[in-house]
Each structure stands twice: as structure tokens, then as C-alpha cells.
Symmetry: C3
Subunit: 247 residues, 3 copies
């Protein structure tokens, strides 16, 4: 059983981060809220997303898993204005999700959860360094890096107490640095890893520019990007595997 | 003889509905205003448009017909700001339409009206059901239907006293319903017909979202869509032939 | 030695007019400001641009020439908001330009000035007629002309005391005229020349619509287009060679 009502804006902010990595996903519909966990086909990026029941106008679920075409569901939600209410109701017999927005009722065929790619099983990961940046700072760093390269080094300069993003092109280079004054928060520790800009650019696209984004980093370790949405009732966690250092 | 002055906005709202169906059309320049009637090459859609002389700042015509390239004329009008005045003057000798917008004079070569496709000869059509919807409601229904199918059923549910729009895809379905509370007006009668979304989407694109749109419907009958513009001095009527029911 | 700070907006207005004509250019960094002079590969258009040191928040240069990829530099400046300050610093040893915008440092590899196309050596040109128009008037004339042709006649009607722009298509024609009342200024003299719309359209794209644009013209002579920017501390001069009259 699942029936819920939420603003189109909240649902869109829930679906878009998942849609950057996968076409289809499982949604866990628990009593306390919904959870999504998915890994991209190349197993480079993982997203873990939760949205608490408090984010909804009304929410009722007794546990269960549905498989959905993420982009399709995001498109349907996109038919609404951002503060329109979207009514969701699971029809367990027909395995359909009924989506109602005003006079519009869209019946979405669900995907068999068993044919959706397995969810990732992440080992607990201790990342020693962390920095809290504004979405717009991250955006500027990633867009500048894209001008010169396909990958980027992200790390912490322990001496200067700075977070940095470095990209090296054949001709030009980009160096982006933020120290304690520029950052919301910084925990200094050894950290330097190389990442694919393809993935970082996709993730960057869904991070609201006015959001605080937490980066957690290590030495040739995955990066953990996380931020809250829907007044803190929702959370997005991205894990991004490092590229092998090519020097 | 024809010479007239109107706002660019009024002229654009006159030309765009015609341009969705045909490339060239005849414009009848009568003493009381102008009239356009055109049918698309596949003979599925018809537009009948009138614009009263009161829509113009000044208007003089003594009857006559000109053939025009609709899109071209719409593009020239589009050079103006929407509240700029556009001066039109027919040069009967050279068969040219002189269009003046401020210091700009565009001389448009007219098309021989005899080579423009014949105007449709519509039998008077009694359509039993009718509904008055807002442009934005129609827009939402059509856009949702386009997500799942290439055609759509539009009808009136006599029991529920509702206008509905139904589209059925291979996987997903769209059902849009508006009852008396949602509608500006509804005349209940048996009505259910299938229409091509290609045409409806094109027509929808030119209907202002804040306009009241009248739909007239029957059982496997054409649909009549009409709305006013330019403070009621202009009227657009679309007729759309039904598709054959495929079940 | 060169180090300077200016608003992104000022730098963008300096680079864009050059980027419409050439990919790479020399920038002369003099004590009083910077100068750029460049001719397009087809030797049809020339741009001469100057930006006074007063346009900068701070400026220090002791003379010297750098070669730059104009579009690339414009893209980097475009990463900033228009009122952000952009810090420029020349590293003479590595022949790199260091561009700093907040926490972002972009290191741009310079181009050897000796491999950049020679700067044009323009003979002093006496152009008898001139008109001062608003950018938006010029914009409307050029866009209308583009609808019918690939070239345009620009001239002064001595009898009517008007500046005109004429374009003749296979079917339609455009005539644009501005007399003393419409113009900021007009110096009447014999003037009529044909120009490529490709070039004029590119030049038009960078002229701000709210700017006064000075056109200087003669009989089958080049056109001189000039305007100021950055509160009069910057000036753009375009020279455009006439096309041969084809009648």
C-alpha cells in the first residue's frame, strides 16, 4: 500500500539526482519515507537518496519496493507547476503508479524491481577530509575545469588549509581554491584524488546553486558529495569512484 | 484598395493560427474586416479566422482577395515590438503588400490567389456537446497526452458530467477530466471521438493560455475549437476531422 | 609587465567585437591602456579597439604585445558575473596569462604574436557622409535585410536627407530609412555602397542596442562603424570593405 501527496518541486528534487546516474531504479516505500539507492552501469557513481514522510502533505506506506523509469516519472511530475500538489497512488494489482495533478491522471506502468540493476553494497568508508561549499562555488569550479580537461583533481592543501580543484589541459590549466574564509566549513586532512568530469558535471547540474554541499575526500579515494533538500527532510548522497592517477 | 494600421500583437495573433495549418492562404479584405479560411493539405484541419475592422487603428478596404505566404508575413510582423503599429498597404498594380514598421518598409510579393489551395466548403455541422476550458487546461491535457500516444480521445462523460481527454500508450495512459466546477461551461451530450495529436498540438501552441477555449464535440464527429482574441474583435475557429476508431 | 583588474562586463565588451572577426589577435599593452587591431582572413573586415587604463580598477603595463585566443579568453571572462572583478596577470617567462575570478585561477597559454596574422595597415580614409543611429535601429534594419538577401546597400539620400538601408530579394524587398528626426545626427554627402550581410550581422550582434553607433560612408567606399563602451573609456572601430556593385 502506498499513497502520498507532495509538491511537484519536492518530487522533482528527489528524482533528478537519481536520473543523472540511471534510467530505472527501485524505490523503497517504507513507513518513515522513501529511499532510493542506485549505481550507474559503469559502476563509477552511486546515489543514495532519502525523503522523509514529513516532506509530504500526506504519506502512507507499509513497506514495499517499486521499480520505475526515473526520467519518465520526472517528466510527468514536470507537467505540474512547482508548487502544485502531486498525488501518488500505487495499484498493487496492476503494478501501476497513478499520478494525479489537478484534472490530469497519468498511469505509469511500473518496472519489475527484479530486473532493475542490483543496488550497490557500499562498504563503510572513512573519508578523512571534508569541506562544505556553496553549490554556486562548486558549479563555477566544475564549469571552469570542463573548459580544459575531461578529469579533475580534487583535494585539500594541508599547508594552505584550502580545498582545491585542479584541471590540466594541453594548453591551459584551471586552479580553483577556497580557504576557510570562503568555505562554510573545512576539515583538513590528506586528500587528493582524480575524478571524471563527466560524472561531476552531471551531479553538479542537479545541485541547487544556493545549497550547502558537503564534499568528503581522501587520498586516491572516492568522493562523497551530499546535500539536503526539502527543508532538510530529504538527503542526496553521491559516491564517485576516483580515476587512476595517470602520472 | 486596402490600407490598414494595427498593433503587431493583433496581426501576429491573426497570422499564427493560420500558419499552423498552411503555408499560403487567401485573405479576404472586406469593408467590415478581414477573413481567412484555409484547409491543410491532408484535409484534416480547417481554420476560419475573422478580424473586425474595430481591431485596427485605421482600416480601409473595398473588397478583394490577396494570396500571402503566411509564415513570411508573420516573420515580418515579428520584427516589431508587440505594441508597435504595423502599417499595411496593398499595391494592386504590382501585387505587393507594403508593410511599414517605423523606419522599416518591407515589400512583400503576393501570391496569385488562384494558385492557393481552394478554400474548404464546410457543411453546417451540428455538434451536440460543448465545453469551455481555459487555454492552460487544454495545454496541460494535450502535453500529457503527447507523452504516451500520437492520438487522443476527447469526449463528454454524460454520467459524471465531465469533459475528458484520454490517451493510451503501450505502457502508460493519460486520463484528463474536468467537471462543471473546473470548467467555465459544459453542455452535456453524447460525444466521443479520436483525434490526431499532431494537429491538436499545433493548434494548442497558438491558443493563449489565459484564453477561454470552446470545444464542440459529437460521436465520431469533427471537433470545433474556437476562441476570441484582440478584445473580441477577432475569432479563430478550428475544425479537426476525427480519426477512425481503431478498436 | 602587465597586471590589471577590470569588471567582467568591460572585458567582455572588449573581446566580443574582436571575436566576431578573428580567432586570434595581438593585444598591445601600453602604459595608457590596451589596443587591438585585427583583420579577418578574407580581408573584408577590420576591427580597431582601444580600452583606456581608466576603464580598469587597476592597471600597470610597460608596453608589450601578447597573442591570445580571443574566444577562449572571452569564455573564461564569461565564467564571472558581469560585475565580478577579473584579475589579469602576465607571466612573461612562461608566456601565460593568469586570470583570477574569486577562487578561480585560469592559466591561459598565450599565442606567439609572430604567428598571429599581420595587423592591417589602413590608409587614412576620408568618408564624406556620416550618421549616428541607435544600436536598436541598426539592429532592426540589419535583421529585416537578412530576411530577403545576403547583401545590403547602405547610403545617404541627399534630396530626402535620409540614411537608408536597402536589400533586394528575389521576391521581397526591404527599405529602411531614417531622417534627421529619427537620427541622433546626420552629415549629408554622396554615399552609396553595397556590403555583405554576413559581416554586418556579426558586427551588429556585438553592438549594444542602447548605444549610439556612428556610420561613416562614401560612394562605393568602405563603411566605418564606431561606438564607445565602458563609459567612453573604450572605443570600437569597424571597417568593412564594400562588395562590388552587381548591376
Amino acid at each position: 500500500m502506498f499513497t502520498a501527496v507532495a509538491s511537484a518541486d519536492t518530487l522533482s528534487k528527489t528524482l533528478s539526482p537519481v536520473g543523472t546516474l540511471v534510467d530505472e531504479c527501485r524505490i523503497h516505500l517504507d513507513a518513515e519515507g522513501l529511499r532510493i539507492s542506485a549505481m550507474d552501469p559503469a559502476t563509477v557513481g552511486v546515489v543514495e537518496l532519502s525523503l522523509d514522510r514529513r516532506a509530504f502533505e500526506s504519506y502512507e506506506a507499509d513497506g514495499g519496493v517499486v521499480g520505475v523509469d526515473v526520467e519518465r516519472l520526472d517528466d510527468v511530475v514536470g507537467m505540474a507547476n512547482s508548487d502544485d500538489l502531486v498525488h501518488l497512488e500505487l495499484d498493487e494489482e496492476t503494478r501501476q503508479l497513478r499520478i494525479r495533478i489537478g484534472g490530469l491522471e497519468y498511469t505509469l506502468a511500473l518496472v519489475d524491481p527484479d530486473v532493475v540493476r542490483q543496488e550497490p553494497d557500499l562498504d563503510a568508508l572513512e573519508l578523512p577530509a571534508s569541506a562544505v561549499v556553496e553549490g554556486r562555488q562548486f558549479d563555477q569550479a566544475i564549469r571552469a575545469a570542463e573548459m580544459v580537461s575531461t578529469h579533475v583533481a580534487v583535494g585539500v592543501d594541508e599547508g594552505e588549509e584550502q580545498l582545491y580543484v585542479d584541471a590540466e589541459g594541453d594548453m591551459d590549466t584551471v586552479h580553483y581554491e577556497l580557504d576557510d574564509d570562503d568555505l562554510v566549513d573545512l576539515d583538513v586532512a590528506p586528500a587528493h584524488s582524480l575524478f571524471s568530469l563527466d560524472y561531476l558535471a552531471d551531479m553538479n547540474r542537479v545541485v541547487p546553486t544556493d545549497t550547502e554541499l558537503t564534499l568528503e575526500l581522501g587520498e586516491e579515494f572516492p568522493m562523497r558529495l551530499s546535500y539536503e533538500f526539502a527543508d532538510g527532510t530529504g538527503e542526496v548522497l553521491y559516491f564517485l569512484a576516483p580515476r587512476i592517477q595517470n602520472r
